[in-house]
Symmetry: C2
Subunit: 339 residues, 2 copies
Amino acid sequence: MVHKRLGPQTVKFDNPPSIISASSIVGQKEGKGPLARYFDEILEDELWGEKTWEKAESKILRETINKVISKANKTNSDINYILAGDLLDQCISTNYAIRESNIPFFGLYGACSTMSESLSLAAMLIDGGYADNIISATSSHFCSAEKQFRYPLELGSQRSPTSQWTVTGSGASLVSSSGNGPYITHVTTGKIIDMGIKDSSNMGCAMAPAASDTIFRHFEETGSIPSDYDMIVTGDLGYIGMEILDELLINLGCRVSDKLHDCGVMIFDRDQQDTHAGGSGCGCSASVFNGYLYQELTNGTLNRILLVSTGALMSPTSIQQGESIPSIAHAVTIQKTRG
Amino acid sequence: MVHKRLGPQTVKFDNPPSIISASSIVGQKEGKGPLARYFDEILEDELWGEKTWEKAESKILRETINKVISKANKTNSDINYILAGDLLDQCISTNYAIRESNIPFFGLYGACSTMSESLSLAAMLIDGGYADNIISATSSHFCSAEKQFRYPLELGSQRSPTSQWTVTGSGASLVSSSGNGPYITHVTTGKIIDMGIKDSSNMGCAMAPAASDTIFRHFEETGSIPSDYDMIVTGDLGYIGMEILDELLINLGCRVSDKLHDCGVMIFDRDQQDTHAGGSGCGCSASVFNGYLYQELTNGTLNRILLVSTGALMSPTSIQQGESIPSIAHAVTIQKTRG
């Protein structure tokens, strides 16, 4: 066995899989944000030549997957599995994106935790010897998400100050049994945490306790400390959720403040691009990881990060039925060297 | 390494994981069908004390998971992961079912292929040494599915003769690194197949080509032949899809007719219970496998089966946008002895 269980939620890889390529495509608004130069492609409009937002989202994901394969000088037949999912009902962005790929597929649903969920499973399947090359991918689209989860865009509804802006974008990683890094060295798999938050316009607040739980378990089970990381990066807690997370971790005796970042905070400019509480969506941590963070890990600006994509697992139906918001966060340690 | 890749889609386990317990709960109609005596519990009504169909479905899944744990004399803390998903938007049946479980969770979306998808991933994670005990589970509910995918039940819409009846039910397997079988010896992971079928009232027809592809690849990559199996059991092709599958396989030179069965055909009595084209839903192959098939494998009536749960990966939105139905099928070899 080339791996080790460190605790109830954490697995360590002695032969860590390598992320040999990464790609990201984002929408116009994301392309005007502070991370613009890290993305492979920036769309000129929200439809990209398609007739509907859902088809546009699917095309973004399809092209991102095509890019991650070609960047690694591989072809579809080199890929053993795709592990992917998205926010749309029945994950149609993913299903239609990959239907011509001819690659064996495991569909995931982790809401906005999908990026780290898919990296976690990919790393285990590769380290376990079941695959040499796996694509982990996900997407979201502002327009398809608003339409499905909130109000028709045409209604021009006012957004709550605590609400977040769904990122139009996608990201894909090619995880491989051989390569020169960055490497996935640990995964800490989240449990569902539900603290009774019912305000679906305040997802950061609902998801922060899940992030706190997973990050705390990660440190506990790995014996690592915050200073072992250059960045601890949550998926899409936004400004409000990140502040709550910081406080929750301090209450647990875990001071990460100066290491803590959030993809939803980083992807937009707070002053120039009003998104209220920051960015969100599966595509948020997917594009920030596969754009910005991957490049900084590759060029050595970052040596070790903990990526903690965060997902809110409710639906419009469950909210209408008075339910609170169950959340989950999966953590993945990614570092430049094998360690 | 204790495993082997036999081909592009098939993995073989040299130390096959064992399914140490299985449980199933079904609705009233399923409880009047020919497999009634194999289910752990039959509901007296569609709501089971809950206020909504979605909450009822979630309760069915929660109780099925509780049963599979207690049947194996385990507690929640013995379970390393739950791998589960369902048909409802954002998989809320699953998310709410397990939110109090305190068990690390990977959410899946494979539509009605979820049972064999979750068994496939569970077997790899266990054989790879990442877990000792994993729960694979899924559910569906006639009322919540009709409401979401078709028409409000209150409308009393006439159903198409090719349509299938979503099973109210769920199934859970506890897959373990140690145990006395039945064992999961092979998994053949499906690719998305889309033959352009657009009639969402004829899912069996849309899914049959995916089942054919996966079954054909399974025989090709494992070198096995139909007579090596007591049963080749598809998930929910129903009468129409099963006939198409049989024909597709014959065209590929693969005669499985006398071994071919379908959970959607088996769960209801064609004469006494008119469901038109048969049963369907994630809960169809989940309840039939974890009820009937598991017991027959345990008592030795069956020695070796190929379980091929079949999923249609469209959504109401994609159908309204003129899209065809992408489908997938995952195959799992399950046998009484280690082989």
